[in-house]
C-alpha cells in the first residue's frame, strides 16, 4: 500500500468512526426514545447525497475536569450545507449521543460559522436541536454569540429551528430569535430553568412536559409555531415550509405550478356567512375555498385561535394569510392574537410575501385583565406591523369589523393597497346598540318607562344599522376599493396580486423603526 492509499484508508476509517457519533449503545438509546440520530435527521432533511459536512474533525480544546481524555470529532454537532428540493440550505444538528449534544466553545463556533456563511451567501439555516444545553466544563464560553449571529441573520435569511429533544437553559434563546420553532410532541422540551431548579427555588413540582413540552409551548406560551408527531414528520414539515419561502430577503418566493384554475369561482362562498349576525362561521372554510387547493399551511395553529395565520398560494405564488376566526372568542383581538399576527406580518414583509387579510372582528377584547396586561402597547404591534409592511397588502372585509379591530385590520388607511368588501361587510366604530347608547345618552336617560326606553333604543339601533350595516356607505366615501360577490374573491385576489407585483413603496429611512415591544 502506498502512503497516499494509507492516508485515504485512514480518512475512510475516521469518517466511519465519526458516523457512529457517541457509539452503538448511545444510538440504540436514542432510538429507544423514539428519536432519530442527528445524522439520520440530516440525511432525511437534504436531497439524497447532497449534504456536504464541514468541520467534521473540529474538537474541543478543554483540558479541565478530565475532558482531555474524551475529545470526539465534531464536538457534538454536525454542520454543513446541501440541497433541499434543489435549493441550497445550511443546517446544523446537535448530536445527543455525544456529550448530550452539549454546547462547548467549539460547538458554538461551528454553529456561529453556519449562520455567518449562510448570511453571506443568502440561504436559509435549519437548526435541529437535541441538546442538554451549555457544556458546564467549558463555562458556556462563546454560546451567546449564537444569539448575535441569529440576530444579524434576522430578516436577511429565513431561520427555522426544530426542537427534537431537550433544549434547556440559555440556549433556548437561539430558537426564540429565529423565525419559526417546530417542536416534536412528547420528546421536545424547552425551558430556561428546569423542573429541578424550580423545585429548589420555589418548591413547585412540575414535570418536564408540563413545564415546557410541545403542547404547552404551542398552546399557552406561543413559543412554538408548529407541533409534529415525530422526527420524520418534523423533517417533512421543514421541507414543506421552505417551499413557501425565498432563500433571502432580496428574492421573491419560488412559484409552484398549480392546476387550480385562477379564475375558479366557488359558489359555496356565497352562503358561508350566516344571515344572523350573531351566528359564527368557520373562517377556515373561506380560506381553503379561496386559495390554491390544499396549499394552506397554518402557523401557530393552537395559540390564540381567534386569529388565523399561515402561508398559502394563489395561482402558485406564496401569500401570507391573516384572518379573524369568529368561532373563537368571537374573533376578538386580544394581546396574544395581536402579537401572533404582528410577528407573522413582519415575517412576510421581511421576505417579500404579500399579505391577504380576511377581516371579521368585533373589536379588541374588553376587560380589566387585558387593559392591565398592556393591550394598548401590545395591541399596537399589529397596527405597527401592518403600517410598516411595504409588501402588497390586500384586505377582504367579510362581515363585521368594529372599533379597534377595524382600525387594525380592515381599512385602507394603514397603507393597504386594496380593500375588497363582501356584501355582508360592515365597518363601524362599535355595534349598533352600543353606538345608540352613546349617541342618544341624554334622550335615553329622560325616558322613564322601561318599555318605551327599549323601543327607542331598538328603533335608533335599526336606523344606525341601516346606515352602517352594509358596505355601500364605505364605497361611497372610497373607504374601500370595491364591493365583490364572495365567489369572485379568488380571481379578484389573483388579479390584484398580479397588478401589485412590482409595487415599490419605500418608507423614510432611519436606523430601524421602533416597534412597541
Amino acid at each position: 500500500m502506498t502512503k497516499i492509499q494509507e492516508d485515504i484508508e485512514k480518512l475512510k476509517k475516521l469518517r466511519a468512526e465519526v458516523r457512529l457519533g457517541g457509539g452503538k449503545d448511545k444510538i440504540e438509546l436514542q432510538h429507544s426514545k423514539g428519536k432519530l440520530t442527528a445524522r439520520e435527521r440530516i440525511e432525511l432533511l437534504f436531497d439524497k447525497n447532497t449534504f456536504k459536512e464541514i468541520y467534521t474533525f473540529a474538537r474541543h480544546q478543554c483540558r479541565d475536569f478530565g475532558m482531555d481524555k474524551y475529545r470526539p470529532y465534531g464536538d457534538a454537532v454536525i454542520t454543513g450545507f446541501g440541497e433541499i428540493n434543489g435549493r441550497i440550505c445550511y443546517a446544523y444538528a446537535t448530536d445527543f449521543t455525544v456529550m448530550g449534544g452539549s454546547y462547548g466553545k467549539t460547538t458554538a463556533e461551528k454553529i456561529c460559522d453556519v449562520y455567518r456563511r449562510a448570511r453571506e451567501v443568502g440561504v436559509p439555516v435549519i437548526a435541529l436541536i437535541d441538546s442538554v444545553g451549555a457544556r458546564i466544563q467549558e463555562g458556556g464560553e462563546k454560546v451567546p454569540q449564537i444569539f448575535y449571529e441569529n440576530t444579524l441573520c434576522s430578516g436577511v435569511i429565513p431561520q427555522i429551528t426544530a426542537i427534537m429533544g431537550p433544549c434547556a437553559g440559555v440556549s433556548v434563546y437561539s430558537p426564540a430569535i429565529t423565525d419559526f420553532v417546530i417542536m416534536v410532541d412528547k420528546t421536545a422540551t424547552m425551558h430556561i430553568t428546569g423542573p429541578r431548579v424550580i423545585e429548589v427555588a420555589t418548591g413547585e413540582k412540575v414535570s418536564e412536559q408540563e413545564l415546557g413540552g410541545a403542547d404547552v409551548h404551542s398552546r399557552i406560551s406561543g413559543v412554538a409555531d408548529f407541533v409534529v408527531k415525530n422526527d420524520k414528520e418534523c423533517i417533512e414539515l421543514i421541507r414543506k415550509l421552505l417551499s413557501y419561502l425565498p432563500s433571502n430577503w432580496k428574492e421573491k418566493p419560488p412559484r409552484v405550478e398549480t392546476d387550480d384554475d385562477p379564475m375558479r369561482m366557488d359558489e359555496k362562498l356565497n352562503s358561508i356567512v350566516p344571515d344572523d349576525p350573531k351566528k359564527p362561521f368557520d373562517m377556515y372554510e373561506i380560506i381553503n375555498r379561496v386559495v390554491d387547493k390544499g396549499s394552506f399551511l397554518e402557523v401557530k395553529k393552537n395559540f390564540a385561535p381567534n386569529i388565523i395565520t399561515g402561508f398559502a398560494r394563489l395561482n402558485g405564488e406564496t401569500v401570507g394569510i391573516v384572518a379573524n376566526q369568529p368561532k373563537w372568542l368571537a374573533g376578538c383581538l386580544d394581546i396574544n392574537a395581536s402579537e401572533k399576527a404582528a410577528r407573522f406580518v413582519r415575517f412576510c414583509d421581511c421576505f417579500n410575501i404579500p399579505i391577504i387579510t380576511f377581516s371579521n372582528s368585533p373589536g379588541y377584547l374588553p376587560g380589566v385583565d387585558q387593559e392591565h396586561q398592556g393591550i394598548i402597547r401590545r395591541g399596537a404591534k399589529l397596527l405597527f406591523a401592518y403600517s410598516e409592511a411595504t409588501v402588497p397588502k390586500i384586505t377582504v372585509l367579510v362581515r363585521a369589523s368594529y372599533g379597534g379591530a377595524a382600525a387594525a385590520m380592515a381599512n385602507k388607511w394603514l397603507g393597504t393597497d386594496i380593500v375588497l368588501a363582501w356584501p355582508s361587510a360592515e365597518m363601524t366604530v362599535m355595534g349598533a346598540k352600543e353606538a345608540v347608547s352613546v349617541l342618544y345618552y341624554k334622550e335615553i336617560q329622560k325616558i322613564e318607562d322601561p318599555n318605551e326606553k327599549r323601543k327607542f333604543i331598538e328603533e335608533k339601533a335599526r336606523e344606525f344599522e341601516e346606515k352602517f350595516s352594509n358596505p355601500y356607505h364605505l364605497a361611497e366615501r372610497m373607504a374601500i376599493d370595491e364591493i365583490i360577490i364572495p365567489s369572485e374573491t379568488r380571481p379578484w385576489l389573483i388579479h390584484c396580486l398580479k397588478m401589485l407585483r412590482n409595487k415599490d413603496v419605500k418608507h423614510p429611512k432611519g436606523k430601524h423603526r421602533n416597534i412597541p415591544l
Binding site: 350573531k278 372568542l329 376578538c332
Partner: protein, 71 residues
C-alpha cells in the same frame, strides 16, 4: 381527574345543553355564551361525564368563571 370548563370571554349564558350525569365526548356543545355580539359555542375539551353545571341561561359570567365540570 376533573376538568373545569371556563368562560373564555365575559358574556351572557344563552343556553345550557348538558346536565349533571350526562356523558359527553370531546367537541360536544356544552354552553352557548353570548359575548361581543356573537354566539360563542363552548365545547367539551375532553371525553367524560358532566359532574356539575355552574350556570343557567341568563347568567352573566366573567372570563375564567367555571361553567361546567367534567370528570
Amino acid at each position: 381527574m376533573a376538568t373545569n370548563v371556563t368562560a373564555p370571554i365575559p358574556g351572557k349564558i344563552l343556553a345550557v345543553k348538558v346536565e349533571p350525569g350526562k356523558q359527553v365526548k370531546k367537541g360536544d356543545l356544552l354552553i352557548t355564551l353570548e359575548a361581543m355580539k356573537m354566539e360563542n359555542y363552548i365545547e367539551a375539551p375532553v371525553d367524560g361525564v358532566v359532574k356539575d353545571v355552574k350556570v343557567k341561561p341568563g347568567d352573566t359570567v366573567k372570563a375564567g368563571d367555571i361553567l361546567v365540570i367534567i370528570e
